[in-house]
Amino acid sequence: MPTTIIEGHELSVDDEGFLTEYDQWDPQIAEALAQAIDVPLTDEHWKVINFLREDFKAHGATPTLRRVSTEGGVDTKTLFALFPKKPAKKMSYIAGLPKPAGCV
C-alpha cells in the first residue's frame, strides 16, 4: 500500500491517492486534498464533507450522490456546482473516504 505526505503526515493511500485509513483524516488534511484538486472549500462543501464522514462512520460505506441529496440535504445541482464534473469522486477524495460503490 503506498503512502503519501500531506501536511507533514505520512498517510496510507490507494494507488489513485484516496486515503485508506478513516482515522488518519482531519480537517487540515481535507484542505490540502481539496487544494490538490483545485476545489476551494466553503461552508457548503463542509456540510457535504461532514455528512460523508458521519454517514460512512454509521453505515460503513461512502454515500452516493443520491444519498447525499436525500439524506444529507444537499441537492444534486448544488453537488455538481460544488464538486464540478466528478462530484462523487471529488467529495469522497476530500473527505478521506473510498469512492462510493453504489450505482445510484
Binding site: 500531506i6 491517492g17 471529488k90
Partner: protein, 172 residues
C-alpha cells in the same frame, strides 16, 4: 536552507479537471416497460457523475417514459420474460403484471432508486439533455405540453444523429 531528503510527491487522483474530457454519451430509450426504462436512466446517471455529457432520446415505446399521462404508471410484465423464472403458463394470468410491477418498484425503492419521473428530475439536475422523438410525438398526437417539463425539445431522428456527432451510442 537545504533539505537532505527529497520531498515525496503527493499522489493525487486524476479527475481530468484541467481539460474538458469531451466524452459524450447518447442513449436511445425505445422501451416503455418499467424494467427496460431503468437501464438507460442508471447508465446515464453514472455517465453524468463521471463528467460525461449525456443526451437521452426517447422514441417509440420509450416515449411513455416522458409522457405525463403514462410516466407514473409504467409496468413490468413477466410475460415472455424467461429471466423472471416464473412458469410460462402463470405469467399471463390476471393480476400477475400488477404484482410483478409492485414487487419491482418495492425492490428499487428499498435501494433508494427513484421512480422514473423523479429519476428524470435527477438527470436534469445533473445536466442531462432530454429529447423527444418527432415521429413518436406525431404518432401519439402529443405536443410539448403533454411531455415531461424537462424535455429540451421534440426533434427528428436526423437532428439527434447530427447533435450526437462524436458521442458513444447506447440503444435500449
Amino acid at each position: 536552507m537545504t533539505t537532505t531528503t527529497a520531498p515525496m510527491e503527493m499522489i493525487v487522483p486524476s479527475f481530468g479537471s484541467d481539460a474538458e474530457s469531451g466524452r459524450k454519451l447518447a442513449v436511445i430509450c425505445s422501451k416503455g416497460a418499467l424494467d427496460m426504462a431503468y437501464p438507460g436512466l442508471i447508465l446515464g446517471n453514472a455517465a453524468l457523475g463521471e463528467g460525461v455529457e449525456l443526451d437521452l432520446f426517447f422514441t417509440f415505446w420509450g416515449f411513455d417514459m416522458i409522457t405525463k399521462s403514462r410516466m407514473y404508471d409504467l409496468k413490468f410484465s413477466p410475460v415472455g420474460n424467461t429471466a423472471t423464472h416464473m412458469p410460462a403458463a402463470l405469467s399471463p394470468l390476471p393480476g400477475v403484471t400488477a404484482m410483478a410491477t409492485h414487487s419491482l418498484k418495492k425492490s428499487l425503492a428499498d435501494l433508494n432508486i427513484p421512480e422514473v419521473p423523479d429519476f428524470l428530475d435527477l438527470l436534469k439536475d445533473s445536466g442531462a439533455r432530454l429529447w423527444a422523438c418527432r415521429l413518436s410525438a406525431d404518432m401519439n398526437h402529443l405536443k410539448e405540453e403533454d411531455l415531461y417539463d424537462g424535455v429540451d425539445g421534440i426533434i427528428s431522428a436526423s437532428d439527434f444523429i447530427e447533435m450526437t456527432d462524436g458521442s458513444q451510442l447506447l440503444f435500449i
